[in-house]
């Protein structure tokens, strides 16, 4: 890999890290509009993060080093993920480090660490949150993996860039299997990013929350990192979705500067659209009872496997 690719790689990561809160803000803003509110504005997440960074950290007396380590691990994991996902172009040198399976593993690692951190303090809500987080995870992960499998069966590869390239250049090939996969992926995305209908990102009603319960004990910079990595996670997932199901416009192969300049606005537009769609879904649905979550995810898992079967059946 030459210097240029490395530079592009890093610029991409930086872009992702920077743009992630923006996406979050955009989604919230859209929701506000859909609920006829003015909304805090698109830049609100940045303000929050900045403020949190300046606060003094308050930490439970019996917190272990693990507890302090976790936010950094979270954030690092999401950055690495961002480096692997072809959000702008596919020629990512880092992509060899981890294919789709490793990507799923990466997300799993992040989740496990978060759950451990939640159990570390030993409050009722922390451990409850950890349990629910893992419950969501152990159904969402396989579903995500199956989605990837469907895609990689099409492209005979598990490395994300290759998948995206095959999907991107297959202009008008219609994959019915991908339809199933797409729905499944959407459900996983909602669950993984603690969105309605599985979880409510803005709720602080303890008994219903999942993700919030796990980070209840965090404050200041740690909380800032967590929030940021959450935004980054949403960004990553969205990018994955776009790359898999709307790969057009990504700079593929030997990327010339023209492609890149073309790719950036394309991706931007797609992200805006996706964000709006997400907000729409969240406004139209109501949060479901926590006990219904497994059924929801099981459905996702089933759809993904169905997609796999459909692919094998129709050979497409």
């Amino acid at each position: 890999m030459n210097v240029v690719t490395l530079i592009t790689q890093f610029t991409e990561v930086i872009l992702a890290v920077v743009a992630a809160p923006l996406l979050m803000g955009w989604v919230n803003q859209c929701r506000a509009w859909l609920q006829n509110r003015r909304g805090p504005g698109v830049l609100q997440p940045y303000r929050q993060i900045r403020k949190l960074f300046h606060k003094d950290a308050v930490m439970a007396a019996n917190a272990s080093p693990l507890f302090r380590l976790v936010p950094y691990v979270q954030f690092a994991a999401m950055c690495l993920a961002a480096a692997i996902i072809p959000s702008l172009w596919t020629g990512l040198p880092f992509a060899v480090a981890a294919d789709t399976i490793a990507l799923v593993g990466l997300f799993a690692t992040a989740r496990v660490f978060l759950a451990l951190a939640a159990m570390d303090i030993g409050t009722a809500f922390g451990s409850m949150g950890a349990r629910r987080e893992m419950l969501v995870g152990f159904l969402a992960e396989p579903a995500l993996l199956m989605v990837f499998f469907t895609a990689s069966l099409i492209s005979h590869s598990t490395s994300l860039p290759t998948i995206v390239e095959t999907l991107a250049q297959g202009r008008l090939a219609i994959y019915p299997s991908l339809a199933f996969a797409g729905i499944a992926f959407l459900m996983v995305l909602l669950a993984e990013n603690a969105r309605i209908p599985v979880d409510n990102p803005v709720s602080h009603l303890e008994l219903t929350m999942i993700h919030e319960a796990t980070v209840l004990e965090y404050s200041a910079r740690h909380l800032a990192l967590i929030e940021w990595s959450v935004a980054l996670k949403l960004f990553n997932y969205t990018c994955i979705g776009l790359a898999l199901f709307f790969p057009w416009g990504l700079a593929t192969g030997a990327h010339s500067l023209r492609d890149l300049l073309l790719a950036i606005p394309m991706t931007g537009l797609k992200l805006l659209a996706a964000g709006f769609g997400l907000a729409l879904i969240e406004s139209l649905n109501a949060k479901m009872r926590i006990f219904r979550a497994p059924e929801f995810l099981a459905t996702a898992f089933l759809l993904a496997v169905l997609g796999l079967l459909v692919h094998l059946l129709l050979g497409s």
Partner: protein, 667 residues
């Protein structure tokens, strides 16, 4: 065959060395110091030596040796080839860590005299080595049963407890039944020429029917030892019963030895493999894995939890074996090699990480005298060494990158992804299910491990006594460190080891991944653009990122921290009892997989002043399979007892009738 089998001779010598150490224990059987600080470290050194030799032998061609012992016309035959070498590596490396740990662990005798314990322990090790290098049925059986026997005595070390006696009995009984199966298997495999050397068995040409019979007898025999469902019932009883280093050996090494047996029989001794065996094995493996992990999720005893997780891992390993058989049967050598590599790699992973976890439970047990998850918690503050090293094992077993557990699962999933190329449409449809189930199992394993680690080491101590817990001693730390290092290295540098494993696949399948493993840092078994994973880069980037972040935050902002009591959501007093218990953590799984369990619940009534909640999860197989068999035996023996009711005339009548009948017959 090479001229002079130096490696083999030295391996044999080392095995005898272990035996000798065991006997040395009898010099001063009651002295803990002599046994613990003299003999066990010595055994560890031998373990390391075996590891080194195995690494050397992996590169060399197979060696054979005949000892002038055994049956008059069937002397003990020994053979050291790549497959044996891999498992010798496993035994040696794991045993080294465990022995060092035991040196610190066996402080005051665990119920038996230390010397006796030492003998049984090293006999166990030596017999496992012999199993791996045995090259004739008789020696194999002798070593195999010696292994079972010595481990039985180790399991029943604390024989004063009735449940431990029961565990030991069930263990030995099932082991014996398995051995009978193996005996039959060998009897079938000699294929008419009544030679019981493996050499002759390789040469034997059997009909497909007999080959299948041999294979399934082997699956029965070795499955009984490996804990394949439904032959698993002894495992969750016996492993917790044994002292922790022994549990580590049994879980981490002995189960893998059973896998060795399956591989040896299937790919080495049998001359053909039929694809549907693979399907059966794969199905069994899947079910075992799912069964194991689901039961692990609802356990409340830390060692039982680990035992069930061993069942799960064995299931995954047999999954790999099944895939290998299928690919091999359809003549896809490269993919078969891939699946085999995944299988062997998972064996190694499981050996390291499971022993690590069992040993850390041992330390916890020593420090707290407590096995039930409901009474532990918060130990990361009291015993940081154990806690942090156990974290490595936890993540490894949970199959998370960049540790070792993930590598083998990654390889397995890769293998699954290639199944659509099989020339058999039905399997094509079937196998993705397998992949899905594997993914599910892996995710559940993560769930289980979070429960395991979180409940034991994190949170607040659930009992006041835990505040007096001490961290483990120096020797124990070394042992744990050794194993943890193994996990990390296996996780980060898979490529060199896979290159070593190529010898095995070349020997068993006639194909290898060799050509695909040029970059030491990049794991791309088939082709980089198809699939690639570079744990080194992965690890590196995460570490770098974390470092950069920590420094960055310190640099731009500050590191100030105020300690405060945890936020109780406005609830005034927060007691440890409010944390999730082990039962609570398992509850969602219990709900989702209800039909798999046989549950007895005691729910308190809402008006109960001292509410008491109990739930007991049991195994269906115990009641559906084992009880009826016992019942039949009892019934038949009652019938037999009726023959003998004490009256002499009747006895005379028996002899009379016998005589008359025989005369009539002879006439």
């Amino acid at each position: 065959m090479t001229g002079h089998p130096t490696d083999l001779i030295s391996i044999t010598a080392l095995a005898c060395g272990w035996l000798a150490i065991g006997l040395l224990g009898f010099i001063r059987p009651r002295s803990t110091g002599w046994v613990a600080h003299g003999l066990f470290p010595l055994g560890a050194v031998l373990g390391i030596a075996i590891t080194a030799l195995a690494l050397v032998a992996l590169a060399h061609p197979a060696e054979t040796l005949i000892l002038p012992l055994g049956l008059p016309d069937l002397h003990f035959q020994l053979r050291l080839d790549a497959l044996s070498a891999v498992f010798l590596l496993l035994i040696g490396a794991t045993a080294a860590g465990i022995s060092i740990f035991s040196a610190g662990y066996f402080r005051s005798g665990e119920g038996a005299a230390p010397g006796l314990l030492c003998l049984q322990y090293h006999l166990f090790l030596a017999s496992m080595v012999v199993v791996v290098i045995a090259d004739d049925a008789y020696l194999f059986m002798v070593a195999w049963e010696t292994m079972a026997l010595s481990s039985y005595f180790l399991v029943t070390t604390q024989h004063r407890l009735p449940e431990i006696r029961r565990a030991g009995f069930i263990y030995l009984l099932i082991a014996h039944l398995g051995a009978i199966g193996l005996l039959l298997c060998f009897g079938v495999m000699q294929g008419g020429n009544w030679q019981f050397t493996f050499e002759a068995m390789r040469a034997a040409q059997l009909t497909p029917v007999w080959t299948s019979a041999a294979f399934f007898l082997a699956l029965l025999g070795f499955g009984a030892k490996a804990g394949l469902v439904p032959l698993h019932v002894w495992l969750p009883e016996a492993h917790p019963a044994a002292p922790s280093p022994v549990s580590a050996l049994m879980s981490g090494v002995m189960l893998e030895i059973a896998v060795y047996g399956v591989l040896r029989v299937t790919f080495d001794l049998l001359h053909m493999q039929l694809w549907w065996w693979g399907l059966v094995t794969l199905g069994l493996g899947l079910f075992t894995a799912l069964f194991g992990v689901v039961f692990a999720a609802v356990q409340t005893d830390m060692k039982r939890l680990l035992a069930y997780s061993s069942i799960e891992n064995i299931g995954i390993i047999f999954l790999g074996v099944g895939l290998t058989i299928i690919f091999h049967a359809f003549h896809m050598p490269l993919l078969a090699a891939l699946a085999l590599a995944a299988t062997l790699y998972h064996c190694l992973n499981h050996a390291f990480s499971k022993s690590l976890l069992f040993l850390s439970t041992g330390s916890v047990l020593h420090a707290t005298r407590e096995r039930s998850l409901g009474k532990l918690g918060g130990l990361i503050h009291r015993m940081p060494w154990v806690a942090w090293l156990a974290l490595v094992g936890t993540l490894a077993i949970a199959g998370l990158p960049p540790l070792n557990g993930f590598v083998s699962e990654w390889l397995l999933l890769q293998a699954f992804l290639f199944t659509p190329q099989l020339p058999h449409s039905y399997i094509n449809m079937l196998l993705p299910m397998g992949a899905a189930a594997l993914a599910l199992v892996a995710a559940l394993a993560a769930y289980v491990m979070v429960k395991f680690y979180g409940v034991i080491f994190l949170g607040q101590p659930r009992e006041s006594t835990l505040s007096k817990a001490q961290d483990c001693g120096r020797l124990e730390r070394i042992g744990l460190l050794w194993l943890a290092a193994g996990c990390v290295l296996l996780g980060i540098f898979p490529v060199p080891l896979l290159a070593l494993l190529n010898g095995v696949s070349r020997e068993l399948l006639g194909a290898s991944l060799g050509s695909q493993l040029q970059h030491w840092w990049l794991l791309a078994p088939i082709a980089p653009e198809r699939a690639s994973y570079s744990p080194a880069v992965f690890m590196l980037s995460i570490v770098v990122l974390v470092a950069v972040l920590v420094l960055g935050v310190r640099l731009f902002y500050h590191g100030r921290v105020r300690k405060a009591p945890p936020w109780g959501c406005g609830f005034p007093l927060l007691t440890p009892r409010m944390q999730d218990t082990a039962e609570g953590f398992g509850q969602p799984i219990r709900q989702i997989f209800e039909p798999l369990f046989r549950m007895r619940r005691e729910l308190p009534s809402p008006f109960d002043t001292s509410p008491h909640y109990r739930v007991q999860v049991e195994d269906h197989f115990w009641y559906a399979l084992y009880m009826p068999i016992a019942g039949w035996v009892r019934r038949i023996s009652n019938l037999a007892g009726a023959v003998q009711q004490g009256r002499i005339s009747v006895y005379l009548l028996y002899s009379f009738l016998t005589l008359v009948a025989l005369l009539a017959f002879a006439l």
